[in-house]
Subunit: 452 residues, 2 copies
């Protein structure tokens, strides 16, 4: 405790922030300037800039470009401590948080912002067959699978002289699905063609399967149409209105129809972090906690729920589970805690989401953008893509990351230079791709002629 | 086959290169300019610049900075194909290579350069407790363990108010051990002190255990002495002349003496890739194949063994298992194959290692360098470190990597900026560090006071 506080003879209120995503980091940064002591708890040591994760997955960026240690982000706030741990239970009445390490912490104010994770709609066995994209590890795994699909096809050409069609299936037509699909098309057509001798990576087919009637459901119809046009140019097909019924090794079932797939990715469903249900308050279908205008659950003005974990209604619509609202909620929660600490909490304004718009890229040099601020417009194509670039570099945390991403994009988009196509982790090739011919049929051959 | 060859009516000889380390890549690059068809086989999709791996392990560089896809390195040689596979057996009489994928390949010339791996001297169970440093995955694992050691100490302070001493033990006092130890000292003293509130990372102790009488055994005695001086300045202690007898969770036994260790790393022994013994020729103690002056094993002038897998004697001494000789052997093997293909193989010179010297860094801004070319000198300290920087940036493959490493070093060494301290992979904290107190003794406390 500093001398000033000791002289004041008053203990500073303790705020615990659980989760260091967009909501938690913004809350912590704002609390760092207030007369409170803050503990940030996260399972990971880093904050992840999720909107660019798909670029790590498709080997444009490195994990270090878009993730940064939480301690590093908050190091200059001397009233903040960070601990790498996991919450296993809350006792809101006793104002206690129970951690996986057996430690118990007491708080005066609590901010919960643990976000969301994939939902496989009850088919948890699909997780292995179609990985989703929420963490740096997920991105590395997706990269591994996409790159291995090409490696295996090349090897099969050497081994048996043919390979299954390079069908990539992305399940889910929201922004993440569209961005993944566009990026797969890009790397296969632009960057990988010179690398292989026996296969033609540009023959890759990418297919988006969306269960609802439209891709990019949150966007206005004219942008949906533009998105489909731009995807078609990239040789990405979309199929909507039918739900996937099964995912297996090398295929996806759409009702009775079997779609061959060398690599299946999941971008369909999300569910709130399980901590939401654990709190015991009413939750919505996705497990997000229904909070009031101050982001408090019923009866707990000292508890704030932010980001994807919070279900906030505004003008009859739910505030979407994306980065912008999460950041605004984090900042709001911190401000509100400041008011409560100062005893100025009567008659203050509730949270209001200030909608600046939405954006999704479609491969390189195209995007759709619903701009809501500083003017209203629906843009698509190259200009929307430029806006996307500028906004994303601007919002990245840390100068080093901004510079690094900017440099990498310059290489990739202007210089057509390769990205970071490393396969890290298991290099073991899945058994299903090892064409086990009976011994007498095994080809014993000189490597086949190189493509000229 | 190209028109010219078809007209000549002659099939081009097939060269198979196994392993894409320094030896294999150099051989392939030289063969890429010759009238042969080349197949490069490697288990991984990337070439790793091993001399800088310790900087990935200690979070200065990203994996993408020092590793590059093999296909990308060799893409401009249209006579080279790359396949990601693993050799399981050779049949040198039938000139065949059997692969894990069940494919069989026939060659005219064979270059084997599969390098070396860690040796735990028969204690394979030590591998989990003290990871070594040969691959990008190893580097990520070491980074995870070093960073987690600090995270756990901080958490233990929150939980029980004390933590075990931050002892890091590096087993092996060769260049890798010295570089790892110096880098651990660096990050703990320079970059991590502002990140923690309850522990002081600069209190970290680093200890090098070397079984032989001297660290850096391959260097002249005056450089060994300088190295110890420079290590002492970094608070790195060295103990020599005693062998480790046991490695356990949280400790290392040196005979009867128990040394506590929050993180133990292995840099002691190497052994040649198991393919060496599989060939059936005489091998040395480490499993490297005894080759003649043309790098051929007995009776097989069409088979070349390069790099760590080859035991080459020159002037009564063994050529060391480091990058320079491996590269020179690769280039020599390719040149020799060119001579054999052209029928100009009589009376040609055998391989001779051209020794330019050796270098090892000792933390930031110090190194030892035994310079053998273009002049002879033993340097230590800052100037040696500058030489080390220049040489390593120069030898990195690819402009992008060179630029990226240069930029990162500028940040790190001049700007004192943080590196890439991400923990990727399992964030689960090892059980041994979870202080399991009986329930009645569990502390239920407000987080302890922050350090002012």
């Amino acid at each position: 405790m500093s001398g000033v506080q000791a002289a004041a003879g008053k203990k500073r209120p303790r705020v615990i922030v659980v989760g260091a995503g967009f909501g938690g980091i913004r809350a912590a940064q704002a609390l760092g300037k207030m007369p409170v002591d803050v503990t940030v708890i996260d399972r990971r040591n880093h904050h992840t800039f999720q909107p660019l994760l798909y670029q790590v997955a498709l080997a444009v960026l490195s994990p270090g470009d878009i993730a940064q240690p939480i301690r590093q982000i908050l190091r200059h706030h001397s009233n903040i401590e960070v601990t790498m741990d996991e919450v296993v239970r809350f006792d809101l009445d006793a104002k206690r948080v129970y951690l996986k390490s057996d430690a118990v912490m007491v708080y005066d104010y609590l901010v919960i912002a643990t976000g969301s994770t994939h939902s496989y709609f009850g088919h948890d066995d699909w997780a292995d067959k179609a990985p989703g994209l929420k963490t740096v590890e997920d991105a590395t795994e997706i990269r591994r699978r996409v790159l291995l699909a090409f490696e295996l096809a090349e090897r099969q050409m050497l081994e048996v002289g043919s390979h299954p069609p390079l069908n990539f299936v992305v399940i889910g037509g929201g922004p993440t699905g569209v961005e993944l699909a566009g990026a797969i098309s890009d790397i296969s057509r632009l960057y990988m063609t010179k690398d292989f001798r026996h296969i033609d990576p540009s023959e890759a087919n990418v297919l988006i399967l969306e269960g609802s009637p439209h891709i990019l459901g949150a966007y206005p119809p004219d942008l949906q149409k533009k998105a489909i046009e731009q995807l078609t140019k990239l040789n990405v097909r979309t199929r909507t209105g039918k739900h996937v019924t099964e995912i297996g090794e090398g295929y996806v079932m759409l009702g009775e129809e079997r779609i061959e797939s060398v690599c299946t990715l999941w971008a369909a469903g999300v569910q709130a972090s399980p901590l939401g249900k654990m709190l015991g308050f009413p939750v919505d279908r996705k497990g997000s906690v229904l909070v009031d205008q101050y982001l408090n659950p019923p009866g707990h003005p000292e508890v704030f729920i932010c980001g994807d974990l919070a279900h906030v209604e505004q003008d009859g619509k739910q505030v979407p589970g994306v980065a912008q609202p999460a950041m605004q909620m984090g900042t709001y929660a911190a401000k509100r805690i400041g008011q409560l600490v100062a005893g100025r909490d009567q008659g203050q304004k509730g949270f209001r989401y200030f909608d600046k718009g939405d954006m999704a890229t479609i491969g390189r040099k195209a995007a759709v953008a619903r701009i809501a601020w500083p003017f209203k417009a629906n843009w698509s194509g190259f200009m929307a893509w430029i806006v996307w670039l500028v906004v994303h570099v601007f919002f990245l945390i840390g100068f080093r990351n901004r510079f690094s991403v900017f440099r990498q994009w310059t290489y990739t988009y202007i210089g057509k230079q390769e990205g970071v196509r490393l396969i890290v982790g298991s290099h073991d090739l899945p058994g299903r791709w090892r064409t086990r011919l009976p011994p007498q049929r095994r080809p014993s051959f000189r490597p086949i002629a190189l493509r000229s």
